[in-house]
């Protein structure tokens, strides 16, 4: 099997570090992206199409990160990109927003079950922050309850005291609870009557470095009732799961109704738009909050979003992505087992998390992932993965072959 070489990637990275902090910052970079060892990973892409991307050395990867979620139909989907290009010819960033914004808003409200209105921005973090502001504006309260390990972006309130750039005041209105622990939420609500503006969580728990966990039976229904009884806004961060579990929203998937829902990644197949959906009772509050951005009402991503959502509905994407995910992960687990490795898969199959559970240091897992990446299957070590619609059975078969060889190498090296 061909082993990738990354000479041009390295060369370009050395240029990048001179002019860009950390060379590549954030989750796409080698440090935060946990490229372990870095020698196994590409740094820069040259092009992307369907289920693949090619790096600057010409190596092709079957991509299981999908740009960390936005790519749900595959790279450069012709219908979505075609709609975007058509809109670009008409106009994009204009003094008055395009009429297409209303069309997209109507589609969102029709698609997302809980939505009476929608507010557009650019990134997931824009709308999680807005959700907190709307909840505070509506309730006149300042405290929020968050789940330990939950990710809601990088705004100061989402981080921790002690992190560089974060001060005590940024997080002093946050309470943190363990996932699936309803009693803990209930206790905080009772101990702070009239103080809690919002409970925000992802629809299921998908932290990094830890097995993903689905909600316990009745968890969301109990949280829903608690929030309703105490006038707390229930905000769901559906940025990662949105349209991957259920086109109507992940609250529907788990059998409850949220007050606010944050969408981003899969909404427009890589075109930059995010959305906060809300119930009617919060519409005035949303209108009252001063919140905007230079590019938030640009028309091209709206056109892409319309094409993307329509296609996702037409192909019943959540069902089929989960089937593809199951086929892939069942195979990976079984191949691992044949080599004596316990590959543990958690979360929903279309965005599964995996780790080799034979040691608690992640060392074996990091070695296995590195061997897979070197051979052209792009996994990452400690983040959940993503399936896209363009992934074929042939790609899954090829991935299984790569995984088999990587497990074989690991076995030879360690046992």
């Amino acid at each position: 099997m061909n082993i990738n070489k990354y000479d041009k990637n390295r060369e370009l990275f050395m240029k990048a570090v001179k002019v860009i902090p950390a060379g590549i910052y954030g989750h796409l970079g080698p440090a935060e992206g946990c490229f372990t060892p870095v020698s196994a990973y590409p740094f820069f892409s040259q092009q992307a199409k369907g289920a693949y991307f090619w790096d600057v050395d010409g190596n092709r990867f079957i991509d299981y990160m999908c740009a960390y979620g936005p790519i749900i139909l595959g790279y450069n989907d012709e219908e979505v990109d075609g709609a975007a290009i058509e809109q670009l010819k008409k106009g994009n960033c204009v003094t008055s927003p395009s009429s297409i914004m209303v069309e997209f808003a109507e589609l969102m409200v029709d698609t997302v079950e809980m939505a009476d209105w929608v507010f557009f921005a650019k990134n997931g973090g824009d709308v999680t922050s807005f959700a907190i502001m709307v909840a505070r504006a509506a309730t006149g309260r300042k405290k929020v309850i968050l789940v330990n390990g939950g990710y809601h972006g990088v705004a100061p309130w989402t981080q921790q005291e002690g992190y560089p750039g974060i001060i005590k005041q940024d997080v002093e209105n946050n309470f943190y609870v363990e996932w699936n622990n309803f009693e803990e939420v209930e206790r905080i609500v009772k101990e702070h009557p009239g103080e809690i503006a919002c409970f925000m969580a992802t629809p299921y728990h998908h932290p990094v470095f830890a097995d993903n966990e689905l909600p316990a039976d009745g968890y969301w229904q109990k949280i829903r009732k608690l929030c309703t009884d105490h006038g707390i806004v229930l905000a769901i961060d559906d940025v990662r799961c949105g349209f991957r579990l259920d086109m109507a929203g992940s609250d529907q998937y788990f059998g409850f109704k949220a007050d606010l829902m944050c969408f981003c990644k899969a909404i427009a197949n890589g075109w930059s738009v995010s959305a906060l959906c809300g119930i009617d009772a919060l519409k005035d509050a949303a209108a009252s909050v001063k919140y905007t951005g230079s590019y938030w009402l640009s028309a091209v991503p709206f056109a892409a979003g319309i094409a993307c959502l329509n296609k996702l509905k037409k192909i019943d994407a959540p069902k089929h992505l989960q089937e593809k995910g199951k086929k892939l992960t069942d195979g990976l687990v079984s191949i691992g087992k044949a080599h004596g490795f316990d590959l543990k898969v958690t979360g929903v199959e279309s965005m599964w998390y995996m780790r080799i559970a034979n040691d608690d240091s992640f060392l074996l897992h990091q070695e296995w992932v590195a061997e897979c990446v070197r051979r052209g299957a792009f996994f990452t070590n400690h983040h959940n993965h993503f399936i896209n619609w363009a992934l074929t059975d042939e790609d899954i078969k090829k991935t299984h072959e790569i995984a088999d060889e990587a497990f074989h190498i690991l076995k030879k090296r360690h046992f």
Binding site: A22, I24, G29, A31, F35, F43, D360, S361, F362, N381
Partner: protein, 252 residues
């Protein structure tokens, strides 16, 4: 934001502790302590206690109290820190007849330590200096980091997020290794361990270790360039890095 108690612990257990290594590594320092047979107790009211023993050409610093020939008392952690900054004198409780050591050999030791902890580009061209500076800087940084983790308010927050286990920090190519053990948010630094390693932070060589430790290369770039490898339980290292970023506020 720094606090005096954390700084006092750093001064004793990260800065002064370097005399142990310096006496073992550097010939002129060995000569200074060759004929010394002295012990110094440091007592800080509402602060740390430690004693320094110089005997048979070796030096050892330990926590706690022991019968010593010289006993130095400090009214509070700030008083100790001022002494380390050269702005205050200790209160001598015992050892009036041993003042010679404090006036003669001890300042020479401090001078040597300062020389090796304050590098210049010129000095770093000398391979022996580079080796000693790297070693001392590494041990100072990680010992200071442990004191921050255990005493500083923000440090405690960051250390509480470190999973239990041992992190090995090494300079590859024959350089030294140290081991940071985390247990329930408390950190300890050791020169060896018999416990399994859960995470690794490895500098490719002495030059790169020196450049990173002296803030000439940032860690993120070094990771991307493959000059600093991290692997294993990354959350341990990630939170150690957050602690390390607090060190310059205490050790300048």
């Amino acid at each position: 934001m720094t606090d005096h108690l954390t700084k006092a612990n750093i001064n004793l257990f990260a800065i002064l502790r370097n005399l142990e290594d310096l006496c073992a590594m550097e010939d002129e320092t060995k000569l200074i302590v060759k004929d010394c047979n002295i012990s110094i107790q440091f007592i800080v009211k509402n602060g740390p206690e430690a004693f320094l023993i110089l005997k048979d050409g070796k030096c050892a610093l330990q926590k706690g109290r022991k019968r010593c020939k010289i006993k130095l008392y400090f009214k509070n952690p700030e008083h100790l820190n001022k002494m380390f900054d050269g702005k205050a004198n200790p209160i001598l409780l015992k050892g009036f007849t041993k003042l010679g050591f404090l006036k003669k050999e001890f300042p020479k030791l401090v001078e040597k330590l300062t020389y090796y902890l304050k590098p210049t580009d010129q000095l770093l061209k000398d391979p022996k200096y580079l080796e000693i500076n790297t070693y001392l800087t590494m041990f100072t940084a990680f010992n200071a980091m442990v004191q921050i983790a255990n005493h500083d308010r923000l440090g405690k927050l960051n250390s509480s997020r470190i999973p239990d286990g041992v992190v090995a920090i090494s300079i590859l190519g024959g350089g030294p290794s140290i081991f940071i053990t985390s247990k329930s948010g408390c950190l300890e630094v050791n020169n060896e361990t018999d416990k399994p390693i859960r995470a690794y932070m490895s500098f490719a060589n002495t030059n790169i270790a020196n450049a990173i430790l002296n803030n000439k290369v940032d860690t993120y770039s070094a990771i991307g360039g493959g000059e600093l490898e991290i692997k294993g339980c990354i959350p341990m290292i990630d939170n150690l890095n957050k602690l390390l970023s607090q060190v310059p506020a205490y050790v300048r």
